[in-house]
Symmetry: C2
Subunit: 279 residues, 2 copies
């Protein structure tokens, strides 16, 4: 039976492209077929797996320009049961799609807030009069483009093909080195790999409360490749810390580090160890 992979839809989003790459990889590695199930938000995508409506989920985690996708981090912490199977790094080339014959006619540009932010300078330079409006995905507005030449959308070249829409400019991202890291998640234990992701809260807000957990890894020469703080949502000034480490949680050194870490944190959640696939 085919595996179901939940992802942020509708069809044509960058997350769908990442989900297709996962589907190809699964077929190659395990021989298993998979089908894609688009969901309207990142929260609903992850909940589909937590509630066993879908077996796997692909969500964006971090972009090289705009940083963390906070919706993914907050849901990972809350849902608790999802484990990372693989990370995928995908280059992002944004395109301006519109039926406008004259750029001057464009009054509104729709896209996902991250895509709008990644093309902010380009929009200021080339479409200073157009109003950016954020939607849930890069493809949500595409259905309206045919009927209205005063609107445009920032989306992928694949989405333009899929919807038979003209590309007015591409790439329009402000920084050429624009990549997004996606995660493939499921309820099964992680396979292990070169990276480990975890998150924790620290009890007391006192000098060194964050240094101590970080020292646990530094003294074992385990490299911290990323740290991100998120509010606990209890009170201003209380944080959760999301950490990526360049080591497998099953290694002896990591095992002892994780035991020590549990003693110095209030709540500790380990999302798994996995390898990174570049697309």
């Amino acid at each position: 039976m085919a595996i179901s992979i939940a992802h942020l839809g509708p069809p044509g989003t960058y997350t769908e492209a990442a989900a297709i790459a996962c589907l190809d990889w699964l077929k190659q590695e395990t021989g298993q077929d998979a089908i894609l199930c688009p969901y309207p938000s990142i929260g609903q995508t992850l909940e589909a797996v937590a509630s066993k409506e879908a077996q796997m989920a692909v969500v964006p985690m971090e972009n090289s320009i705009e940083g963390s996708v906070t919706m993914t981090l907050d849901n990972l912490w809350q849902l608790d049961t999802l484990r990372i199977q693989r990370a995928l790094v995908m280059p992002i080339f944004h395109a301006l799609l519109s039926r406008a014959e004259d750029w001057e006619a464009i009054r509104v540009v729709y896209s996902h807030p991250q895509a709008l932010a990644q093309c902010q300078k380009w929009l200021d330079n080339f479409l200073p009069k157009a109003q950016p409006i954020a939607l849930n995905s890069t493809t949500e507005a595409l259905q309206y483009l045919d009927g209205d030449p005063t609107i445009a959308a920032i989306s992928s070249q694949q989405a333009a093909q899929l919807h038979h829409l003209p590309i007015l400019a591409c790439p329009i991202n402000d920084y050429p080195d624009n990549c997004t890291r996606f995660l493939l998640l499921s309820l099964t234990p992680s396979p292990g790999g070169a990276y480990t992701s975890l998150a924790f809260s620290v009890g007391a807000n006192q000098p060194g409360a964050l240094v101590t957990p970080l020292q646990i890894f530094a003294k074992r020469s385990i490299n911290l490749s990323r740290i991100e703080s998120r509010p606990t949502k209890r009170s201003l000034g209380e944080y959760l810390f999301f950490i990526d480490l360049e080591a497998d949680a099953r290694g002896a050194s990591m095992q002892s580090a994780l035991v020590e870490l549990a003693d110095h944190t209030e709540t500790l959640k380990i999302f798994g160890s996995y390898d990174v696939l570049s697309i």
Copy 2:
């Protein structure tokens, strides 16, 4: 002559309320009058001060539920010359504004992305069929509400009064303890105070690259009240770190810490020492 305070507009935004509090505080402390100058984005608000078009700026820095306002962090790092004069913590009570007579009729809810995110569960529960659409501010859509009873906006009670719009529900934020911290910035040196904000990049991505800078403060018992990472925008996996410390940069212990920190960071930017005002 009156001082000009740039802030995110149009009138009725939470940032305007924070700017009004700053204006009152300035009058009380210094006897100086100030006028408010609304700008369409956080970037343009901060640039107005950097280019001396306005003398001060009020921008949101961090919300207790949704976390950092990344636009503010990225602009502070880039503009480089702005110094923090004061922080303000303001409770946030979101209201649903609409001319709809029946909630079932509401098809679209407009607001700033942070406000939409802070009311996400409420929207899922009470307006599951309405589409959330993000705009540049909480007040941008209010002008359209009179003409269209199928749309609603999430904004403040003050904005409802200002625009003579009915409040359908308030508060609608998912977490009752919802506060935002704002910064008052200008080009003059910081006045000093209980908190210091700074940011740095670290040269090498190696074990302990972040621990060393944090240890500099921990070993002097200087509490780190916040750490936030932002991408350098050079390549995926390279970060800047924004740090808030509970100490005045002019103190002897902080002075020696900052000298040591400069030796262990690639670029170090100190945004100033200041006190926090609760509204």
